[in-house]
């Protein structure tokens, strides 16, 4: 029995303890309740339950938990099991507002995501020793200042969940478009972890629109992962992606969440609007089939909520499809002061200038974008696009004449 339990749970201690406890329960119960019809099966079932309970009590990742998760899935669904509660407590501690934002991201990846310090250092572009010190300092602060290890009270929950969502979105984005030249362009481990943790938060707060919105957003972006980087390691933009390679199951789940939020009839927050924008993209058979007026309308809604220059930039990119590159370029150029150090600003300008046939200016913008971009796949894409400009015969560029 211990062996079968060990096989099932991958841990000898758990198995031994569970078996012993099952025998003890039998000794206690059988004299009063009578011996069950199949004593062997009774013992095994009791020991299994004991082992599952014990594993649930422990907040350890790895084989034990994976095993418990497998078993757990066969059980009748419970809204939040003990394991999930433990993990949630950990998330709220790691994302505590008394910690700096960068520390929250690092600590969440370390404590909840189980990433190593070198992995986190690479992901966040920080020296390994510095990252180690930051995590050590954060743990010391949690202990000395007594940052509580618990899910916040209902009254504080909405505000605290907002902070957690910011961290999870940062983790996801780092995986989706890794900033470092030394890492894979897409870090599936990070996107998967962010999605898994967002699902946990959703189990805690199924009614929260922004939690559903963030999950939908992540799923709809993750669905396009296989089509986003070419075999040669180059970023493939939305208009050039093989839409047949998108993950239909993730898209269906994302769309379902977006529909659910629309049906709720509550004014959406930023994640819900971003999810809706991605739902429009993933509904379209190709880039021409995309409902760009809907995309721009959603960006308008988003700008009213958060008029940050990056959102204005993304709105302008959508405007190019609706009103043409000239109108879009005027909007992008107005962001020069705020986004001069942001590679996507220069990449957007380069693309619009290219479409307007202004090759020289486009080339300069591509150069700047390549200089600032860190992601290897994006650099490869921008470089190819820039070098293709050379194929345009000289004199065709209206701006080159002066």
């Amino acid at each position: 029995m211990v062996a079968s339990l060990t096989r099932r749970f991958g841990d000898l201690d758990v198995a031994e303890e569970a078996a012993a406890e099952a025998f003890a329960t039998a000794v206690e119960r059988w004299p009063a309740d009578g011996v069950p019809p199949n004593p062997g099966a009774w013992l095994t079932t009791t020991a299994n339950r004991t082992a599952i309970d014990r594993i649930r009590r422990e907040n350890k990742r790895g084989d034990k938990q994976k095993a418990a998760q497998l078993v757990y899935d066969d059980d009748p669904p419970e809204p939040a099991g003990v394991i999930d509660d433990e993990r949630l407590r950990l998330i709220f501690t790691c994302c505590h507002p008394a910690l700096a934002m960068e520390t929250r991201v690092a600590l969440t990846l370390r404590m909840v995501g189980g990433l190593t310090v070198p992995e986190i250092a690479r992901a966040l572009l920080v020296q390994e020793t510095a990252m180690g010190r930051r995590i050590t300092r954060a743990k010391a602060k949690i202990k000395a200042a007594r940052i509580p290890y618990r899910v916040p009270s209902a009254e504080d929950l909405p505000a605290r969940v907002c902070g957690v969502l910011v961290v999870l979105y940062l983790v996801f984005n780092e995986g989706y478009l890794a900033t470092g030249p030394g890492t894979d362009p897409v870090r599936h481990d990070l996107t998967a972890e962010a999605i898994r943790l967002t699902r946990l938060i959703r189990a805690l707060m199924p009614e929260d629109g922004e939690v559903a919105g963030l999950l939908a957003l992540m799923l709809l972006i993750e669905a396009r992962r296989a089509a986003r980087v070419s075999a040669s390691g180059e970023l493939v933009t939305l208009d050039e992606q093989d839409r047949g390679a998108w993950d239909a199951a993730l898209i269906a789940e994302g769309h379902q969440l977006v529909r659910e939020r629309l049906a709720a009839g509550v004014a959406p927050g930023r994640y819900q609007i971003l999810a809706a924008i991605n739902a429009v993209h993933t509904c379209a058979r190709d880039v021409r089939d995309t409902d760009w007026s809907q995309v721009v309308a959603l960006y308008d809604q988003l700008v009213r909520l958060d008029p940050s220059p990056i959102i204005v930039l993304n709105r302008a990119i959508a405007v190019a499809e609706l009103d043409g590159p000239e109108v879009a370029l005027a909007a992008v150029d107005r962001l020069a002061d705020k986004l001069a150090g942001y590679h996507a600003y220069h990449a957007a300008r380069a693309d619009l200038l290219r479409r307007l046939g202004r090759s020289h200016r486009s080339r300069a913008a591509y150069d700047k974008a390549i200089e600032l971009a860190g992601n290897t796949a994006e650099t490869a894409y921008l470089t190819r696009r820039r070098d293709q400009l050379g194929l345009v015969p000289p004199g065709r560029d209206p701006t080159s004449a002066g």
Binding site: A144, A145, I147, P148
Partner: protein, 107 residues
């Protein structure tokens, strides 16, 4: 668990009567809810004297030990179960005295 809530000021002015009244209300709440340990307002940094006896003899120096734009104007010592409770109280304290505050745990 006890926390020091330091009141950080960068103006020369003392608390206004309205601020004093709000601080009184806040202090009453601390007492009523069992968080009160001690509190006090301090004289301006210009009233400080620095003493250094590390060399054996006490050396007295006029003025604060660090010159800075921001200085400690007063403090609360509160009893709180954890940092979440302390931060909530500190947020209310900052509102009452209309100044920035800093929360630090006692060892």
């Amino acid at each position: 668990m006890q926390y020091l809530v330091s009141v950080i000021d960068d103006t020369a002015g003392l608390a206004t009567p309205e601020e004093d009244a709000a601080i009184d209300v806040f202090n009453d709440r601390l007492r009523a809810e069992g968080h009160w340990v001690f509190a006090g307002g301090l004289g301006s940094p210009g009233t400080a004297t620095v003493i250094d006896s590390r060399g054996g003899e006490a050396v007295f120096t006029d003025g604060p030990f660090v010159e800075s734009k921001e200085y400690l104007a007063g403090f609360w010592i509160i009893e709180a179960a954890d940092l979440d409770v302390a931060l909530k109280l500190a947020a209310a304290g900052s509102k009452a005295c209309h100044r920035k505050v800093e929360v630090r745990p006692f060892l």
